[in-house]
Symmetry: none
Subunit: 251 residues, 2 copies
């Protein structure tokens, strides 16, 4: 069942969705257009960054449409129409984009082919598992069920974090000095923006209820998506530009 | 509450929105297509000019849709439907595009990397602050509240103008002679087109009321957006072409 919300809450969420459509569309155009500005070896990473924001733009168009079908606003009064708000769009989006985000980071590091394949397979699979385990909790309104799936989903999440900080340490030290700082920063952006998701997930379980909770959940996921996808994509682009320059200079 | 307007006023505003969608779409296509005509160093500036018009086109599609949902025109009679006209689209647009417009101008000047980052951060943040401070005034119908936020918003506006005319003076003098005139002109286009916004904002506070006021506000903002985004983007393109030619000739 959808919560009753105020007109101001409805509009805040709607405008956050519309803002995100514009941001994801602009990030996609930027990444696709400027792909040629980096060395050929990094172009796949930039293409994938653009695919992530493109997929997210598509889902935000759907999410905004579903949101405006779920509520009717007339003369400042909000009524629930009875049409369900489709929560699954977010999970379908994450199932595609979260593994791709980790693959972007691995590709821009330009490791050996075997290491790239091994790390991309491992981190990509863990990311997909994390999203799949979160979904049964998201669609439940029972706090016990939500905590169960939240905990299960946190296991692959923590393995990913461990791998980013311990498993990639050696690979990061072998990066050119000009890019090392940015790559390290990309790991922190990943961790900080990804931490939003489990935190937003628990808001309804720790006392936030009604319209305030559903507004906070929608706006929270939206901010996390902007940072983790568009912000992260631009960071990957900057890393690729710096590495291209460093490597061109060294020949 | 929406003002009652005449059928002629409704159509004037609607056609102004539709005109703007066409202009922004055409400017985006032009900038993206001709990005390769300038030297690689200026391509980011051209990409960003195209992103600005692309983001604006998206918002004008939304604004035109919201306008036609807010009013019903049947047999020449206008009735207010009760669906709110979403004023926030403009502010969401400006929050994204106004910082990017200043970044276009800084990038096409091709300053040192540190100066570029410093000026882009400073002017971009001031521009975002200016837009954020305007919004609480825009959604208020109380003249006192509108004047308060208008005045607060004018502070970053004046700092930006000061910076464009005093802070950038030295950088402009170091530009190639072929482009100096156009760059100086780009600053004037910025100032003149940007002055439209605070002037349009005060129209309802200085005696314009009812349908005439809301028509003037919508058409005024639309004209300002066309000049400040599409017109300015083409000017940035011309500067980049002149500078590319001048620099190719000097080698």
């Amino acid at each position: 069942m959808l919560e009753t919300i105020s007109a101001a809450q409805y509009e805040l969420v709607y405008n956050a969705f519309s803002f995100t459509i514009a941001v994801m569309g602009a990030a996609t155009a930027f990444l696709f257009l400027n792909r040629g500005q980096v060395a050929p070896i990094y172009r796949t990473a930039i293409s994938i960054s653009g695919l992530v924001t493109f997929i997210a733009m598509y889902h935000y168009v759907r999410i905004a449409g579903s949101w405006s079908e779920a509520y009717k606003i007339l003369n400042g009064q909000v009524t629930v129409t009875g049409v369900a708000f489709n929560d699954a769009y977010r999970y379908v989006d994450w199932l595609l984009t979260v593994p791709l985000l980790l693959i972007e980071l691995i590709l821009v590091m330009n490791l050996s082919r075997s290491e790239t394949v091994a790390k991309a397979t491992k981190l990509g699979s863990l990311a997909a598992l994390m999203v799949i385990l979160g979904y049964p909790g998201e669609i439940s309104s029972d706090p016990g069920t939500r905590w169960l799936w939240w905990s299960l989903s946190m296991i692959p999440f923590l393995v990913i974090l461990f791998d980013l900080f311990v498993g990639l340490k050696q690979s990061i030290e072998s990066q050119p000095a000009e890019a090392r700082g940015l790559i390290s920063q990309a790991r922190y952006v990943t961790v900080v923006s990804w931490l939003f998701y489990p935190v937003v997930f628990v808001l309804p379980m720790i006392g936030m209820t009604g319209g305030a909770a559903s507004t906070a959940v929608q706006v929270g996921y939206t901010i996390a998506d902007i940072v983790a996808k568009a912000g992260f994509g631009i960071l990957i682009y900057m890393i690729a530009v710096r590495k291209s320059e460093a490597e061109a200079g060294s020949h």
